[in-house]
């Protein structure tokens, strides 16, 4: 490669405008050297640079501050744990209780690695579908098959149910289906209007087989991420406990487990309206509406939406989240029962990301690497101790 051609190639890869003749020269040269690793690597450099530039929010002052904050939170945790080490007597006593509890709880459990199988879920729990007739289908038995429900064809492939209406006329009476996702498994559904719903472990959703009327309404318990197909004339409504979420076409995450005190709605795109029948709030992208069930009030805050939606992409992201909150999430997915050595363990904060399809032991190992806590797993039971 001589000076001249190097210059032209560099300019070409940099996206400089070249005269037609020169451009052809470069393209011919690159064709001749196709498959040469070092040329591919150099090309990759320029392509990646473009990709980095097009991805906002990954560089700059805010990132530096985030790193600093993470470092601080890890250090704070460490200091506390050192101080705690001095209360040996208390720790030993609690440890003893834990060992006893552990023995007692674990006595009839096999000590085994929890397998992850998407279709089946842990401990053989399976997603199932309740049809409008009341019939209940175990979905894994219908894998790769079609399920008929009157005028609708339901395809069941790759842990996804897809509704396709065969009739162009909307039905007079609405038929409802209910999809039930036990702990330790997950499922997706594409509704008749094209709206995509990712359902997390321990959730239940009811929806009309075909939407009719001027609203598209579904009912949710648990956690789901919605990608709502835009339809200006028919708003999409999610009823989650007391909260009614109304949208036209957006992407958002709803967490509404009956046993938790809060219903959280996190918006990634578009605009949504929430109401509990009394108060009405509007949420814009990057914000989260938290509904406190006891007090019946909404609170809006700015959040990193990834923290709440990453689960659908196969990982969990935590940002200075307490171990108790982290374990709440993990226990649904891995179907665990969690015990804490003491209150303080619950409040330790962690930051990081975990892969959802990993073995649970690997996730624990990652958290253990911080040197703050220790996990003891016995079947479904997990005991978390301070180090």
């Amino acid at each position: 490669m001589n000076d001249k051609i190097s210059e032209i190639i560099a300019a070409y890869l940099s996206g400089e405008i070249l005269p037609e003749g020169k451009r052809q020269e470069v393209e011919a040269w690159l064709r001749d050297h196709e498959g040469e690793k070092e040329i591919d690597a150099l090309r990759g450099l320029f392509q990646s640079a473009r990709l980095v530039k097009q991805t906002p929010g990954i560089r700059g002052e805010a990132v530096m501050q985030k790193i600093e904050a993470n470092v601080k939170s890890r250090r704070v945790g460490k200091k506390l744990s050192i101080r705690w080490k001095y209360s040996i007597a208390a720790t030993v006593a609690i440890l003893l209780c834990c060992v006893l509890l552990y023995k007692w709880l674990g006595s009839n459990q096999e000590n085994q690695v929890i397998p992850r199988d998407l279709q089946q879920g842990v401990n053989g729990y399976r997603a199932h579908l309740r049809l409008s007739t009341g019939e209940v289908l175990e979905l894994n038995k219908y894998d790769g098959k079609f399920i008929r429900e009157d005028s609708v064809q339901i395809e069941n492939v790759n842990s996804t149910l897809m509704y396709k209406s065969m009739d162009s006329v909307a039905p007079v009476r609405m038929e409802y289906n209910t999809l039930v996702i036990p702990r330790g498994t997950e499922y997706n559904v594409v509704l008749a209007d094209g709206t995509k719903v990712f359902l997390n472990a321990g959730s239940e959703i009811s929806y009309p087989v075909v939407f009719a009327g001027d609203k598209r309404e579904v009912k949710l318990q648990g956690e789901a991420y919605f990608e709502v197909r835009k339809d200006e004339r028919r708003p999409f409504v999610v009823q989650a406990g007391d909260v009614r979420i109304q949208v036209l076409g957006t992407s958002f995450n709803v967490t509404a487990y009956p046993e938790r005190e809060r219903i959280e709605t996190t918006l990634e795109e578009g605009k949504i309206q929430l109401t509990n029948g009394k108060a009405l709030v509007e949420v814009t992208p990057g914000k989260q509406a938290i509904y406190n069930k006891d007090e019946g009030v909404f609170e809006i805050k700015c959040v990193d939406t990834k923290l709440y939606t990453a689960w659908k992409d196969g990982y969990y992201k935590f940002d200075q989240m307490s171990l108790e909150e982290i374990m709440e999430t993990l226990s649904l997915w891995y179907d665990l029962v969690v015990f804490y050595q003491n209150q303080h363990v619950k409040s330790l904060e962690f930051t990081g990301r975990l892969r959802r399809y990993d073995k649970v032991e690997n996730l624990f190992e990652k958290i253990e690497q911080t040197g703050l806590v220790e996990f003891e797993v016995n079947g479904k039971n997990v005991i978390i101790k301070e180090k």
């Binding site: 190097s6 300019a11 640079a49």
Partner: protein
Amino acid sequence: MKNSEEIILLFMKNERQGFRLLYASFYDPLILFGTQLLGDAEEAADIVQECFVDFWANRRFNGLRGSLEHYLYSAVKHGCLNYLRNTRRREDKHDWIREKLYDEEQAIDPELVEKLYRTIEALPEERRRILHMVCMEGMKYQDVANQLNISINTVKTQMGRALQFLRKELKDDEYLTLLFFLEKK
């Protein structure tokens, strides 16, 4: 090479300042490196950030074996390869890159890509700065020339030389491994 010793010394004196210099010197090239391995800038940034947090929180600057560059590039490379090896996604957008990584024919060679970035670090200061401005900042040649107060022809020549140098270094490296391989036989 580039600020490395200064970064470590600064970290020992004043961690915050050390971190600022570390960030200014290595953050951009490292995400670029990660992005080339993963084909995804956001994931790459996550991995690089985690590497920085770990470096600082666990005071890796104390008793670093080998050079700082070597440490950082290896950490990010391993982070990326682990990520690729372990993620199993339903909608796997990394399929193509993983195929590339493991397909012998047109494999992305992580060692070669690492070598590319470490060779960039070794470019003469002005050349490296120009490459950075064009590549990372996406500046046009004319704007680079204006900002550095040099002629557009200088930018052109420097970019050409940078490319030629990088290619030669990467190629030499391949010959070396090949020779070594033959000898061993």
